[in-house]
């Protein structure tokens, strides 16, 4: 399994991390090394095994479907790099 520069560019785009063109090949080699080590999982027979999603050996709880929190706009926005009133501010998205 080897990740070519085009694949690395695609993954980086999906992950929203800027990777410069000259880093695509070395990063691809690094990630390929990790994936090559992971390939040993193909030795295991997993026929008929149910996937295990988590370590909690219990059913998830349900809570009452009611509003139990809110009205904290200032606290929520307190770490925003940029805000406009009670909103996060970002560069113009719609022309």
């Amino acid at each position: 399994m080897s990740l070519d520069p085009a694949t690395v560019r695609r993954i980086a785009r999906l992950a929203r991390i800027r990777v410069s063109e000259d880093q695509l090949a070395p990063l691809g080699a690094e990630l390929s090394g990790i994936l090559a080590w992971i390939e040993q999982l193909n030795e295991v027979n997993v026929d008929g095994v149910e996937p295990l999603t988590g370590a909690a050996q219990m059913a998830l709880r349900l809570r009452e479907d009611v509003v139990n929190d809110g009205g904290n706009a200032d606290a929520v926005l307190s770490n925003a790099p940029d805000r406009a009133g009670a909103f996060y501010a970002v560069p113009k998205v719609v022309e």
Binding site: A15, I38, Q40, V44, A55, R61, A75, P81, P91
Partner: protein
């Protein structure tokens, strides 16, 4: 005063041998003197600590001592602390001040603890050496005999372990996603426990891999860990995977006999190329338990070798999802771009270090269309087989004993050439996270270079009591009393 364990300091406070303020001032002084050498603390909250200590003295004077009243602790900088900067060791959270308190730290405050400050860690808890912190590496207070080059304290809870080992706190909070409590505890010659998944609330802890992350204490002794866990643990409706179970008296469990307990020795952990000193320490630990009346039984966990490669699918997959929130819009740091997508990409490229970027990219890849079944679903099936291995052996044994890590502490900058070499630090610890079972590391002895080695005790889900009993039995037998060269109370 620095020679006292947490349990002894608590007794001293209750008997008014010294005040909480005196204890806290002594620790703050030690932090000021030694932290420049160790870089364990990222932030010292002196004024808050003194105020909490004064409140503890008032409570003690009223005869209202809670479990941890007046005990100075260090808090891993992954736990959100209200009004106190929380960085997760990352540049992207450089200015993040949480408007809320994590459940675990709130529980500790409820029980009277004093917080000295926030301690260093690998960035977003991703690492085994504390070398990935955006705020610089932590030095292990131990060095090799006759060689003063700095060693790593392990990771990701490297600041927690270094602070406790150097006596810059009586205990510390930590988290463990693949070994991040147990490996640094072993590297620094102290004790640490990752409780069962669900025992401590994850609410307010910066998330790495939510199905694996679990908080626990690092402290000087097994009993000190037991005292701290009693306060940290407990049901929390704000964490959907929090266990609604009563928290037992773990301290009492430390004094239980191990006579008649069946201790399993998994043959798959005896890897080829295991360092002879690690193997010898393991055999010594088993002999100590046999001498105290435990039955030692060989067992098999056939899927052990697949736990770590499967972990490196599951953990990055969950991380890529959890870290999507750091977008340059909601938290702390932003790097501008021409449009919104560029803003995201620039903020994340500037804010995340190399290891975090690697894991987010791996996670994105294994979850992407066309690869999801081959990687992520297969890893989850292997996770089921790993759990089944443990479920099967725990039908016949009460606990397992293994080495904690495949080596003693290594040098800063070692094992950095290839990511997989660093990942293999977690070969003995990762299976407990994949299956959710509790695991404790206890110092057992020194290697020929004078560095501490730890043994790991694994137990049944929610049976931390047996884990504490076995760990304390090893601790008693080992009589481990060696101390690192850098520590409070000795002249530098």
């Amino acid at each position: 005063m620095f020679d006292l364990t947490l349990a002894q300091a608590r007794d001293g406070l209750r008997k008014r041998d010294f005040s909480a303020r005196e204890l806290t001032d002594a620790y703050l002084g030690a932090v000021a003197a030694l932290n420049p050498k160790l870089n364990a603390y990222l932030l010292v909250t002196e004024a808050q600590a003194r105020a909490q200590a004064d409140a503890a003295d008032a409570a003690l004077a009223r005869g209202e001592a809670a479990n941890l009243t007046g005990i100075p602790l260090a808090i891993k900088d992954l736990f959100c602390t209200k009004g106190v900067r929380t960085t997760a060791g990352s540049r992207i959270l450089e200015h993040f001040v949480p408007p809320y308190e994590s459940t675990v730290t709130a529980n500790l405050l409820r029980d009277g603890a004093v917080f000295l400050g926030k301690v260093n860690l690998d960035e977003f808890a991703m690492g085994s050496s504390n070398m990935t912190s955006a705020y610089g590496p932590v030095a292990n207070p131990w060095t090799r005999r006759g060689d003063n080059r700095p060693l790593v304290p392990g990771g990701s809870s490297g600041g927690s372990a270094a602070a406790v080992a150097a006596r810059l706190a009586l205990g510390a909070t930590a988290t463990d996603t693949g070994g991040s409590i147990r490996q640094p505890a072993a590297f620094c010659g102290i004790a640490g426990i990752k409780p069962t998944y669900g025992r401590c609330s994850r609410w307010g802890i910066v998330a790495f891999a939510s199905s694996l992350d679990q908080a626990g204490p690092i402290a000087r002794t097994v009993e000190d860990c037991a005292i701290m866990l009693r306060s940290m643990a407990g049901f929390d409706p704000k964490d959907s995977t929090s266990a609604d179970l009563a928290v037992p008296d773990y301290q009492a469990a430390c004094h239980r006999s191990v006579k008649g307990l069946r201790i399993g020795v998994p043959k798959e952990y005896r890897s080829e190329g295991m360092a002879p000193e690690i193997e010898a320490m393991w055999q010594q630990g088993l002999a100590w338990l046999r001498d105290q009346g435990a039955d030692i039984v060989d067992v098999s966990l056939p899927h052990t070798k697949y736990a770590l490669p499967a972990y490196y699918i599951v953990a990055p997959a969950e991380a890529s999802s959890n870290l999507a929130r750091y977008d340059g819009v909601r938290f702390s740091s932003r790097t501008d771009g021409g449009d919104l997508t560029e803003l995201y990409e620039n903020s994340r490229a500037a804010g995340f270090g190399a290891e975090v970027q690697r894991r987010v990219l791996i996670g994105t890849y294994v979850l992407s269309a066309g690869y999801y079944d081959a990687y992520y679903i297969r890893a989850q099936k292997i996770r089921a087989l790993i759990l089944k291995d443990f479920t099967d052996v725990f039908r016949t044994v009460d606990a397992l004993v293994t080495p904690t890590a495949p080596s003693a502490a290594f040098g800063q900058g070692e094992k950095m050439d290839d990511p997989v070499t660093m990942y293999l630090n977690d070969v003995f610890t990762g299976p407990a996270n994949m299956s959710g079972i509790p695991g404790l590391s206890v110092p057992a002895g020194l290697d020929s270079q004078g560095l501490p080695l730890g043994l790991q005790v694994l137990g049944k889900p929610f049976d931390e009591e047996t884990v504490f009993a076995v760990g304390a039995a090893i601790e008693r037998a080992s009589g481990f009393s060696a101390l690192p060269g850098i520590r409070a109370g000795v002249a530098a």
